[in-house]
Symmetry: C2
Subunit: 191 residues, 2 copies
Protein backbone atom coordinates (compact mmCIF):
# COMPACT_ATOMS: atom_id res chain seq x y z
CA UNK A 1 0.00 0.00 0.00
CA UNK A 2 1.39 3.41 -0.87
CA UNK A 3 2.09 6.08 1.69
CA UNK A 4 -0.76 8.34 0.70
CA UNK A 5 -3.27 5.52 1.20
CA UNK A 6 -1.67 4.63 4.53
CA UNK A 7 -2.02 8.22 5.71
CA UNK A 8 -5.66 8.37 4.65
CA UNK A 9 -6.47 5.08 6.35
CA UNK A 10 -4.79 6.00 9.61
CA UNK A 11 -6.33 9.47 9.60
CA UNK A 12 -9.83 8.01 9.07
CA UNK A 13 -9.25 5.53 11.90
CA UNK A 14 -8.10 8.24 14.33
CA UNK A 15 -10.81 10.72 13.30
CA UNK A 16 -13.52 8.10 13.79
CA UNK A 17 -12.14 7.05 17.16
CA UNK A 18 -11.46 10.44 18.71
CA UNK A 19 -13.14 13.08 16.56
CA UNK A 20 -11.18 15.07 14.00
CA UNK A 21 -10.96 18.13 16.27
CA UNK A 22 -8.93 16.10 18.78
CA UNK A 23 -6.45 14.83 16.20
CA UNK A 24 -3.56 16.88 14.83
CA UNK A 25 -1.38 16.05 11.84
CA UNK A 26 1.34 15.25 14.41
CA UNK A 27 -0.81 12.49 15.91
CA UNK A 28 -1.17 10.93 12.47
CA UNK A 29 2.56 11.23 11.71
CA UNK A 30 3.42 9.64 15.05
CA UNK A 31 0.90 6.81 14.70
CA UNK A 32 2.39 5.96 11.29
CA UNK A 33 6.01 6.46 12.38
CA UNK A 34 6.57 8.63 9.32
CA UNK A 35 8.84 11.64 9.16
CA UNK A 36 6.89 14.91 9.07
CA UNK A 37 8.45 15.82 5.70
CA UNK A 38 7.15 12.60 4.28
CA UNK A 39 3.70 13.49 5.47
CA UNK A 40 3.64 17.08 4.25
CA UNK A 41 4.70 15.94 0.81
CA UNK A 42 1.20 14.48 0.47
CA UNK A 43 -0.98 16.77 2.57
CA UNK A 44 -0.55 20.43 3.42
CA UNK A 45 -2.71 20.23 6.52
CA UNK A 46 -5.51 18.39 8.28
CA UNK A 47 -8.20 20.06 6.18
CA UNK A 48 -6.57 18.64 3.04
CA UNK A 49 -6.79 15.10 4.46
CA UNK A 50 -10.41 15.56 5.45
CA UNK A 51 -11.31 16.80 1.97
CA UNK A 52 -9.57 13.81 0.39
CA UNK A 53 -11.43 11.38 2.68
CA UNK A 54 -14.67 13.14 1.83
CA UNK A 55 -14.09 12.84 -1.91
CA UNK A 56 -13.08 9.18 -1.49
CA UNK A 57 -16.33 8.55 0.39
CA UNK A 58 -18.38 10.15 -2.40
CA UNK A 59 -16.63 8.11 -5.08
CA UNK A 60 -17.21 4.93 -3.13
CA UNK A 61 -20.89 5.82 -2.75
CA UNK A 62 -21.31 6.60 -6.44
CA UNK A 63 -19.51 3.52 -7.72
CA UNK A 64 -22.06 1.50 -5.82
CA UNK A 65 -24.45 -0.96 -7.37
CA UNK A 66 -27.60 1.03 -6.76
CA UNK A 67 -28.74 3.52 -9.32
CA UNK A 68 -30.74 5.63 -6.94
CA UNK A 69 -32.73 7.38 -9.68
CA UNK A 70 -34.12 4.25 -11.31
CA UNK A 71 -34.62 1.86 -8.43
CA UNK A 72 -38.06 0.36 -7.90
CA UNK A 73 -38.77 0.60 -4.21
CA UNK A 74 -40.22 -2.14 -2.05
CA UNK A 75 -39.96 -2.76 1.67
CA UNK A 76 -37.07 -5.18 1.08
CA UNK A 77 -35.19 -2.88 -1.27
CA UNK A 78 -35.64 -0.03 1.20
CA UNK A 79 -34.29 -2.18 4.05
CA UNK A 80 -31.28 -3.23 2.00
CA UNK A 81 -30.55 0.36 0.96
CA UNK A 82 -30.75 1.55 4.53
CA UNK A 83 -28.57 -1.22 5.87
CA UNK A 84 -25.93 -0.41 3.32
CA UNK A 85 -26.23 3.29 4.05
CA UNK A 86 -25.80 2.49 7.75
CA UNK A 87 -22.58 0.54 7.15
CA UNK A 88 -21.31 3.30 4.93
CA UNK A 89 -22.04 6.01 7.48
CA UNK A 90 -20.28 3.87 10.09
CA UNK A 91 -17.15 3.56 7.98
CA UNK A 92 -17.01 7.36 7.67
CA UNK A 93 -18.65 8.09 11.00
CA UNK A 94 -16.63 11.19 11.89
CA UNK A 95 -17.83 12.92 8.72
CA UNK A 96 -21.48 12.31 9.52
CA UNK A 97 -21.05 13.25 13.10
CA UNK A 98 -19.07 16.42 12.43
CA UNK A 99 -20.33 17.60 9.05
CA UNK A 100 -21.95 20.83 10.32
CA UNK A 101 -18.59 21.82 11.85
CA UNK A 102 -16.36 20.56 9.10
CA UNK A 103 -18.12 22.70 6.50
CA UNK A 104 -18.08 25.67 8.87
CA UNK A 105 -14.30 25.38 9.16
CA UNK A 106 -13.36 24.82 5.53
CA UNK A 107 -14.92 26.82 2.70
CA UNK A 108 -13.57 24.40 0.09
CA UNK A 109 -15.19 21.42 1.78
CA UNK A 110 -18.40 23.42 2.13
CA UNK A 111 -18.46 23.95 -1.62
CA UNK A 112 -17.76 20.28 -2.42
CA UNK A 113 -20.41 19.16 0.04
CA UNK A 114 -22.95 21.64 -1.24
CA UNK A 115 -22.69 20.26 -4.79
CA UNK A 116 -22.99 16.67 -3.59
CA UNK A 117 -25.99 17.43 -1.42
CA UNK A 118 -27.79 19.20 -4.25
CA UNK A 119 -27.19 16.17 -6.44
CA UNK A 120 -28.36 13.78 -3.72
CA UNK A 121 -31.60 15.66 -3.08
CA UNK A 122 -32.28 15.80 -6.82
CA UNK A 123 -31.70 12.02 -7.04
CA UNK A 124 -34.14 11.38 -4.21
CA UNK A 125 -36.77 13.48 -5.99
CA UNK A 126 -36.12 11.60 -9.24
CA UNK A 127 -36.40 8.29 -7.40
CA UNK A 128 -39.72 9.38 -5.96
CA UNK A 129 -41.11 10.52 -9.34
CA UNK A 130 -39.93 7.29 -10.94
CA UNK A 131 -41.75 5.22 -8.31
CA UNK A 132 -44.94 7.26 -8.69
CA UNK A 133 -44.72 6.70 -12.44
CA UNK A 134 -44.24 2.95 -11.93
CA UNK A 135 -47.26 2.81 -9.65
CA UNK A 136 -45.29 1.95 -6.51
CA UNK A 137 -46.38 5.19 -4.84
CA UNK A 138 -49.72 6.93 -5.19
CA UNK A 139 -49.98 10.42 -6.68
CA UNK A 140 -48.49 12.89 -4.19
CA UNK A 141 -48.83 16.63 -3.63
CA UNK A 142 -45.72 18.82 -3.79
CA UNK A 143 -45.80 19.12 0.00
CA UNK A 144 -45.91 15.34 0.41
CA UNK A 145 -42.96 14.94 -1.95
CA UNK A 146 -40.92 17.46 0.01
CA UNK A 147 -41.89 15.72 3.24
CA UNK A 148 -40.78 12.33 1.91
CA UNK A 149 -37.41 13.53 0.63
CA UNK A 150 -36.62 15.69 3.66
CA UNK A 151 -37.57 13.03 6.22
CA UNK A 152 -35.57 10.42 4.32
CA UNK A 153 -32.51 12.63 4.06
CA UNK A 154 -32.78 14.23 7.51
CA UNK A 155 -33.15 10.75 8.99
CA UNK A 156 -30.19 9.40 7.02
CA UNK A 157 -27.88 12.26 7.91
CA UNK A 158 -28.86 12.88 11.53
CA UNK A 159 -30.23 9.64 13.00
CA UNK A 160 -27.04 8.79 14.90
CA UNK A 161 -26.47 12.33 16.27
CA UNK A 162 -30.17 12.39 17.21
CA UNK A 163 -29.85 9.14 19.17
CA UNK A 164 -26.82 10.49 20.99
CA UNK A 165 -28.32 13.86 21.82
CA UNK A 166 -31.69 12.45 22.83
CA UNK A 167 -30.07 9.85 25.12
CA UNK A 168 -31.38 6.95 23.04
CA UNK A 169 -27.95 5.75 21.88
CA UNK A 170 -27.53 3.62 25.01
CA UNK A 171 -29.90 0.94 23.66
CA UNK A 172 -28.29 -0.53 20.54
CA UNK A 173 -31.66 -1.59 19.07
CA UNK A 174 -32.54 2.09 18.60
CA UNK A 175 -30.06 2.26 15.72
CA UNK A 176 -32.46 0.10 13.74
CA UNK A 177 -35.55 2.11 14.66
CA UNK A 178 -34.88 4.33 11.65
CA UNK A 179 -35.47 1.24 9.48
CA UNK A 180 -39.00 0.76 10.76
CA UNK A 181 -39.63 4.50 10.53
CA UNK A 182 -38.71 4.51 6.85
CA UNK A 183 -40.84 1.43 6.24
CA UNK A 184 -43.76 3.26 7.81
CA UNK A 185 -43.10 6.22 5.53
CA UNK A 186 -43.15 3.79 2.62
CA UNK A 187 -46.50 2.37 3.81
CA UNK A 188 -48.02 5.85 4.02
CA UNK A 189 -47.04 6.68 0.45
CA UNK A 190 -47.44 3.42 -1.39
CA UNK A 191 -50.17 3.04 -4.02
CA UNK B 1 -27.88 43.99 35.91
CA UNK B 2 -25.46 41.98 38.05
CA UNK B 3 -22.10 40.80 36.80
CA UNK B 4 -23.03 37.14 36.55
CA UNK B 5 -25.97 37.96 34.28
CA UNK B 6 -23.77 40.24 32.18
CA UNK B 7 -21.23 37.44 31.72
CA UNK B 8 -23.93 34.96 30.72
CA UNK B 9 -25.49 37.37 28.24
CA UNK B 10 -22.21 38.29 26.60
CA UNK B 11 -21.11 34.65 26.47
CA UNK B 12 -24.38 33.61 24.80
CA UNK B 13 -24.01 36.42 22.28
CA UNK B 14 -20.43 35.47 21.38
CA UNK B 15 -21.15 31.72 21.31
CA UNK B 16 -24.12 32.25 18.96
CA UNK B 17 -22.12 34.53 16.67
CA UNK B 18 -18.88 32.60 16.43
CA UNK B 19 -19.44 29.13 17.83
CA UNK B 20 -18.42 28.24 21.39
CA UNK B 21 -15.28 26.41 20.22
CA UNK B 22 -13.93 29.68 18.79
CA UNK B 23 -14.54 31.65 21.98
CA UNK B 24 -12.27 31.51 25.04
CA UNK B 25 -12.98 32.88 28.51
CA UNK B 26 -10.46 35.62 27.62
CA UNK B 27 -12.62 36.77 24.73
CA UNK B 28 -15.55 37.12 27.08
CA UNK B 29 -13.51 38.95 29.72
CA UNK B 30 -12.16 41.36 27.09
CA UNK B 31 -15.57 42.00 25.52
CA UNK B 32 -16.94 42.91 28.96
CA UNK B 33 -13.87 44.86 30.04
CA UNK B 34 -13.85 42.92 33.30
CA UNK B 35 -10.75 41.90 35.21
CA UNK B 36 -10.06 38.15 34.89
CA UNK B 37 -10.33 37.73 38.67
CA UNK B 38 -13.79 39.20 38.56
CA UNK B 39 -14.74 36.68 35.94
CA UNK B 40 -13.28 33.58 37.60
CA UNK B 41 -15.11 34.45 40.80
CA UNK B 42 -18.30 33.47 38.97
CA UNK B 43 -17.18 30.78 36.52
CA UNK B 44 -14.29 28.34 36.75
CA UNK B 45 -14.11 27.80 33.00
CA UNK B 46 -16.00 27.92 29.71
CA UNK B 47 -17.76 24.62 30.39
CA UNK B 48 -19.25 26.08 33.58
CA UNK B 49 -20.73 29.00 31.61
CA UNK B 50 -22.15 26.68 28.97
CA UNK B 51 -23.79 24.50 31.63
CA UNK B 52 -25.34 27.57 33.27
CA UNK B 53 -26.71 28.81 29.93
CA UNK B 54 -28.08 25.34 29.27
CA UNK B 55 -29.86 25.21 32.63
CA UNK B 56 -31.21 28.73 32.10
CA UNK B 57 -32.58 27.65 28.72
CA UNK B 58 -34.33 24.64 30.27
CA UNK B 59 -35.88 26.76 33.01
CA UNK B 60 -37.12 29.27 30.47
CA UNK B 61 -38.63 26.45 28.41
CA UNK B 62 -40.34 24.88 31.39
CA UNK B 63 -41.75 28.11 32.79
CA UNK B 64 -43.50 28.55 29.50
CA UNK B 65 -47.26 28.73 29.01
CA UNK B 66 -47.64 25.42 27.26
CA UNK B 67 -48.22 22.30 29.29
CA UNK B 68 -46.92 19.91 26.67
CA UNK B 69 -48.53 16.85 28.24
CA UNK B 70 -52.09 18.16 28.26
CA UNK B 71 -52.31 20.27 25.16
CA UNK B 72 -55.03 19.51 22.63
CA UNK B 73 -53.39 19.61 19.23
CA UNK B 74 -54.76 21.28 16.15
CA UNK B 75 -53.03 22.64 13.09
CA UNK B 76 -53.02 26.13 14.62
CA UNK B 77 -51.73 25.00 18.00
CA UNK B 78 -49.02 23.00 16.27
CA UNK B 79 -47.99 26.02 14.21
CA UNK B 80 -47.86 28.23 17.27
CA UNK B 81 -45.81 25.67 19.22
CA UNK B 82 -43.35 25.31 16.36
CA UNK B 83 -42.99 29.04 15.87
CA UNK B 84 -42.22 29.45 19.53
CA UNK B 85 -39.81 26.55 19.46
CA UNK B 86 -38.11 28.14 16.47
CA UNK B 87 -37.61 31.47 18.26
CA UNK B 88 -36.35 29.63 21.31
CA UNK B 89 -33.85 27.60 19.33
CA UNK B 90 -32.69 30.80 17.68
CA UNK B 91 -32.07 32.51 21.02
CA UNK B 92 -29.87 29.57 22.08
CA UNK B 93 -28.70 28.68 18.60
CA UNK B 94 -25.16 27.62 19.52
CA UNK B 95 -26.52 24.96 21.87
CA UNK B 96 -28.70 23.40 19.18
CA UNK B 97 -25.99 23.63 16.61
CA UNK B 98 -23.25 22.18 18.81
CA UNK B 99 -25.10 19.89 21.20
CA UNK B 100 -23.51 16.65 19.92
CA UNK B 101 -20.07 18.16 20.60
CA UNK B 102 -20.88 19.94 23.80
CA UNK B 103 -22.07 16.73 25.45
CA UNK B 104 -19.04 14.88 24.08
CA UNK B 105 -16.75 17.40 25.75
CA UNK B 106 -18.42 17.70 29.14
CA UNK B 107 -19.65 14.67 31.08
CA UNK B 108 -21.65 16.85 33.49
CA UNK B 109 -23.52 18.55 30.66
CA UNK B 110 -24.08 15.16 29.06
CA UNK B 111 -25.77 13.97 32.24
CA UNK B 112 -27.96 17.09 32.57
CA UNK B 113 -28.96 16.88 28.92
CA UNK B 114 -29.71 13.19 29.14
CA UNK B 115 -32.21 13.73 31.95
CA UNK B 116 -33.91 16.58 30.10
CA UNK B 117 -34.16 14.62 26.88
CA UNK B 118 -35.67 11.63 28.63
CA UNK B 119 -38.26 13.91 30.17
CA UNK B 120 -38.96 15.61 26.83
CA UNK B 121 -39.48 12.33 24.98
CA UNK B 122 -41.77 11.11 27.76
CA UNK B 123 -43.79 14.35 27.50
CA UNK B 124 -44.17 13.96 23.76
CA UNK B 125 -45.47 10.40 24.26
CA UNK B 126 -47.88 11.63 26.95
CA UNK B 127 -49.08 14.40 24.63
CA UNK B 128 -49.68 11.85 21.89
CA UNK B 129 -51.61 9.48 24.20
CA UNK B 130 -53.66 12.39 25.51
CA UNK B 131 -54.63 13.42 21.98
CA UNK B 132 -55.55 9.85 21.03
CA UNK B 133 -57.73 9.70 24.14
CA UNK B 134 -59.38 13.01 23.25
CA UNK B 135 -60.11 11.75 19.74
CA UNK B 136 -57.77 14.22 18.00
CA UNK B 137 -55.64 11.37 16.67
CA UNK B 138 -56.84 7.96 15.55
CA UNK B 139 -55.68 4.80 17.34
CA UNK B 140 -52.00 4.24 16.54
CA UNK B 141 -49.69 1.23 16.61
CA UNK B 142 -46.58 1.34 18.80
CA UNK B 143 -44.48 1.80 15.66
CA UNK B 144 -46.58 4.74 14.54
CA UNK B 145 -46.26 6.36 17.96
CA UNK B 146 -42.49 6.00 17.90
CA UNK B 147 -42.43 7.40 14.37
CA UNK B 148 -44.46 10.44 15.39
CA UNK B 149 -42.36 11.26 18.44
CA UNK B 150 -39.01 10.64 16.74
CA UNK B 151 -39.84 12.64 13.62
CA UNK B 152 -41.17 15.50 15.74
CA UNK B 153 -38.12 15.55 17.98
CA UNK B 154 -35.52 14.81 15.30
CA UNK B 155 -37.06 17.58 13.20
CA UNK B 156 -37.08 20.01 16.11
CA UNK B 157 -33.49 19.33 17.14
CA UNK B 158 -31.84 18.98 13.74
CA UNK B 159 -33.83 20.96 11.17
CA UNK B 160 -31.40 23.90 11.11
CA UNK B 161 -28.22 21.74 10.96
CA UNK B 162 -29.96 19.68 8.26
CA UNK B 163 -30.66 22.78 6.16
CA UNK B 164 -27.06 23.88 6.50
CA UNK B 165 -25.54 20.50 5.69
CA UNK B 166 -27.91 19.81 2.80
CA UNK B 167 -27.25 23.22 1.26
CA UNK B 168 -30.87 24.32 1.72
CA UNK B 169 -30.08 27.07 4.26
CA UNK B 170 -29.46 29.58 1.46
CA UNK B 171 -33.20 30.01 0.82
CA UNK B 172 -34.73 31.51 3.98
CA UNK B 173 -38.20 30.05 3.23
CA UNK B 174 -36.79 26.57 3.86
CA UNK B 175 -36.68 27.36 7.59
CA UNK B 176 -40.47 27.22 7.55
CA UNK B 177 -40.68 23.99 5.57
CA UNK B 178 -40.52 22.08 8.85
CA UNK B 179 -43.86 23.72 9.74
CA UNK B 180 -45.64 22.25 6.74
CA UNK B 181 -43.91 18.91 7.32
CA UNK B 182 -45.27 18.74 10.86
CA UNK B 183 -48.72 19.75 9.65
CA UNK B 184 -48.59 16.89 7.19
CA UNK B 185 -47.61 14.53 9.98
CA UNK B 186 -50.61 15.83 11.91
CA UNK B 187 -52.88 15.18 8.89
CA UNK B 188 -51.62 11.60 8.61
CA UNK B 189 -52.38 10.84 12.23
CA UNK B 190 -55.54 12.77 12.92
CA UNK B 191 -58.79 10.95 13.60
Amino acid sequence: MNRKTLILQKALELFNEQGSRNITTNHIVEALEFSPGNFYYYFKNKEAIIREIFVQMIEEWESDLYQLDTIILSKDVLTLMLERTGLFFKKYSFIHKELPFLIDNDAQLKEINSQIQEKRLAQLHTMLEFNIQKGVFRELSEGEKEFFVDILWLGSLFWQPYLEVSGQAKEPQNSDKILSHFQLLFEIYKA
